[in-house]
Amino acid sequence: MRILRFFITRIFLKRWILVLGMILLLFLANYLSFTTARSVISTFQGYQEIETLNQEGTFIANLDPDSKTENETINIDKTRKLYEYLDNHYTYALQVDGFVTSLENEHEMEVTFSYINEEAYKINQFSLSQGNHLTFNYQFNQETIPVLVGAGLATTYPVGSTIEITDPVTQQLVNLNVRGVLKENTHRSNFYAPNIKNYFNFSIFLPVNEEFIQRAGLDLHVNGLTDIALLDSTEDEAMNLKEHIQKNLGLELNFFNQQENFDYFEEYYVYSLKIICTIMFILLIIIVCLATWNNFTSIRLMKKDFTINLVVGLSYSKLRAIFYSYFGLLFSINLTLLIAITAFNRYGFWLRKESLYATYGIFGLLSMDWIALLIVLFIDLIIGVTIVELTLTKIKRIPISVGVLN
């Protein structure tokens, strides 16, 4: 320990610019590997969520990218009729998020409504931390609507409390009864960017039944259609619905079956992740080369110090241990910095009141952040071993006499 302190304070820090340069380079390497690892983990998590929906007999709708919708062809009467048709002929899962409302809460966050029907609720199997699951057989405007609230709203609106609010999609004053509280960080991944997630810590889950849909506005109807999933259906039924929607609303939706979705996602994800990993690998190689060069220049300048210590009895194995400890220290500084920056970024969502991204976790970090940090630690080990061993080889090549002469 004493010799390590001697090397750090008397030899390395004597040329602090080189130490700072090394810290900056290693930080860049850590940041890039962290971003990549987190992106890959998040995509993988999102893919697993989508897999639960992507079953045989399920047809997931998406708006055709070439579809040119004329808004005047869509009106509330037509969409109501369409949902009536859907209720009579199909089983479908529907979940629409992001309807913002102002509701008092201790964190002064915007509260969003997430509308979910029974089928979508069954498929997603959301976990609760308190209370009971949703029921869907309520009478709209005659009784209170049972709802689930996010973990961030649990203290202001505990289980059993009633919320009186104007519902954003029906524009009617409704009484909501809190039935349960969603587990912290309950989320939903974006279908086409599974690494992007909406967190429901400040959301209210409102159960949607046939009656509610008929009273809802155009926004819910159209947004719901573009993400709707037909369950226990066939190719012909899906095609019929596609034609029906196109004929009545002028919306061109595609309904992909399990195999088509699987092929699409497989190709899309694998392609994206391959590119991400390639970019990261190239950047890491460049940074490691720069870091090795930085360390070699340190050796050039510290040649005298190293050789003198070697002459007075320092062994190469001890020098190796000193270098490993030194790099361990640098990596620890960088990892702490990385944790602090990530925690600050997560906290930033709270500061900016972005309720769909505000999350809970140890130091504000989510499980995927910690897994990504573990991967960074592993990459650091590889980088550390590479640089230290190359440096040791370089030092061993310096003849002791040349060093002493210096």
């Binding site: 080189l18 340069g21 992106s39 960017a193 992007i196 899309y268 994206s272 720069l290 060069w293």
Partner: protein
């Protein structure tokens, strides 16, 4: 480069670091021009890096400070010897600045080929050139003898 303090390996190292900085900056600008809407995953990943574009580039330019620092430290004995045989400190400093600027200029012109290849504006790297000139002028104050 007559009477220069720079050897071939120093010139090579400096050019390599300059080119890494210039190329990184150009690649950042290039990916921002790409239409990545076909892949949202890729788009959000690239965004998480390009959001910190300036910070990353400035961190990379620190390598040039490291280069000048170690270079001038290693040349202290040579500077003392030159002064012994009749050279002056002022002339050494002027030569050092001019040589450093020549290496920077050469690297910049080399990087222009990447500009043309990626069809980017030729002035994209100019702000880096100003930063590097600043580094050179500051490091000129560190030209010292043993």
């Amino acid at each position: 480069m007559k009477y220069s303090l720079f050897r071939f390996i120093d010139i090579f190292e400096a050019i390599a670091i300059y080119l890494i900085c210039f190329a990184s900056n150009l690649l950042f600008i290039y990916v921002l021009t790409l239409d990545l809407e076909a892949s949202f995953i890729l788009e959000s990943f690239i965004e998480s890096i390009t959001d910190y574009q300036l910070v990353i580039i400035i961190l990379l330019t620190f390598m040039i400070i490291v280069f000048h620092y170690q270079f001038l430290n290693r040349r202290k004995t040579e500077i003392s010897c030159r002064i012994l045989v009749g050279d002056t400190m002022v002339k050494i400093i002027i030569r050092y600045i001019l040589n450093s600027l020549a290496i920077l200029g050469f690297s910049f012109f080399l990087s222009l080929s990447l500009n043309f290849y990626l069809e980017l504006n030729g002035t994209s790297n100019l702000y880096l050139v100003f930063i590097f000139i600043l580094y050179i002028l500051i490091s000129a104050g560190q030209v010292k003898k043993e």
